[in-house]
């Protein structure tokens, strides 16, 4: 309030969050990121944006949850979110593994059918 210095980090984080959001939207628009995976990132940026605008938000939240050291809440939330997202990616990966297997089996079967038809 007294000078501009405390606002420095706030301005920076707002710029950071907006840039991140812009990048995500660009990826979706270009078709490089599927919408279903982008939802989580959009939500993340919104949370980021809210807390960079609402400066006391973190302290308020920490007090409500009974967290003694407010910044620890950031790490807790961030690590939790990352782990959840990693598990989600593993599930996606397993699904794709299964799909690739089915596709290649189908392809091998079709190839052999084609060969047999050529012979007849």
């Amino acid at each position: 309030m007294e000078n501009v210095v405390p606002y420095k980090i706030q301005i920076l984080s707002i710029i950071g969050a907006l840039t991140f959001m812009f990048l995500i939207f660009r990826l979706i628009a270009k078709g490089k990121l599927r919408e279903e995976y982008s939802i989580i990132w959009i939500v993340c940026t919104i949370i980021l944006l809210v807390f960079s605008i609402w400066r006391n938000g973190l302290d308020v939240l920490a007090k409500i949850l009974g967290v003694f050291y407010a910044p620890a809440l950031i790490f807790l939330a961030a690590i939790f979110a990352i782990i959840v997202f990693l598990v989600h990616l593993s599930v996606v990966n397993s699904k794709q593994h299964e799909q690739i297997k089915k596709l290649s089996q189908e392809m091998a079967l079709l190839k052999s059918k084609l060969m047999e038809e050529k012979k007849l």
């Binding site: 397993s94 699904k95 299964e98 690739i100 297997k101 290649s104 089996q105 392809m107 091998a108 079967l109 190839k111 052999s112 060969m115 047999e116």
Partner: protein, 248 residues
């Protein structure tokens, strides 16, 4: 070809990964094999071999499957089962491409299915304890799986890692829905048993591999044990608690 009343169609699925040394002679041997009342067709499945396996298979002039990406033994064998289902085979036999499973033992694994004694036949080298008995470490693993199966399922399978097995059309339908990818043999036993299929073991002679390398080197054996144990436990839980036949 013969005047049998019931001509059973038997598919011999041969998963091949770099088996150039043995595959051609193996295919010739199968082509010359005749079992009364059976029409036998070999089906090599080339799992992206990096050697001349594909050329050797072509030389033998048989129908084959050529996988575009390497799927591992389970995926390769499963594509053979799909072939069996699509072409309505009565029996599907898995036979390793390295010459470990002798062709003249085929009758032993096919017969119980043709006689409708059971749904799944596993060729075991430990019943009569003859022929190639595998290395010490591997035998330890096999013993361990025997105990695990006995504990979970209450059945005794002496050679649960044996890939030399024959299954009937009902079991074919089942494995087309779900079949494990890596080291599928011990896990498949759980799958069969919990789906109420009758398993029978028959004594067979096995040879030491003629060419190629085992999918299980001693370096990987610890990983193998953990992976298969997990696989067995999870397929057990999956079928027991999430309903029969449910795949992923």
């Amino acid at each position: 070809m013969k005047t049998e009343i019931s001509n059973k169609k038997v598919l011999i699925i041969i998963p091949c990964f770099n088996e150039e040394a043995s595959i051609y002679s193996l295919l010739q041997e199968i082509k010359e094999t005749k079992i009364e009342g059976c029409f036998i067709q070999p089906l090599p499945v080339n799992d992206c071999s990096t050697d001349k396996t594909a050329i050797e298979i072509n030389k033998a002039a048989v129908a084959y499957l050529d996988l575009p990406v390497n799927l591992g033994i389970g995926g390769a064998v499963q594509s053979g089962y799909h072939y069996a289902l699509q072409n309505s085979f009565d029996v599907a036999v898995q036979l390793d491409g390295d010459g470990q499973h002798p062709v003249n033992e085929l009758l032993k694994v096919i017969n119980p299915i043709i006689n409708k004694e059971c749904d799944v036949v596993i060729g075991s080298r430990f019943i009569s304890k003859e022929g190639f008995q595998s290395s010490g470490l591997r035998r330890f693993g096999i013993n361990y799986f025997k105990k695990l199966n006995q504990f979970l399922l209450g059945i005794k399978v002496t050679d649960s890692t044996s890939g030399f097995r024959a299954i009937n059309s009902e079991a074919i339908k089942l494995v087309c829905e779900y079949y494990p990818d890596e080291y599928p043999e011990p896990e498949a036993i759980v799958l069969f048993h919990l789906n109420r299929l009758k398993i029978k073991e028959v004594p067979v002679l096995m040879r030491e591999r003629q060419g190629g390398t085992s999918s299980i080197s001693s370096f990987k054996s610890v990983y193998y044990m953990i992976k298969v144990t997990l696989g067995i436990l999870f397929i057990f839980i999956r079928i027991k608690f999430y309903g029969k036949r449910s795949a992923l």
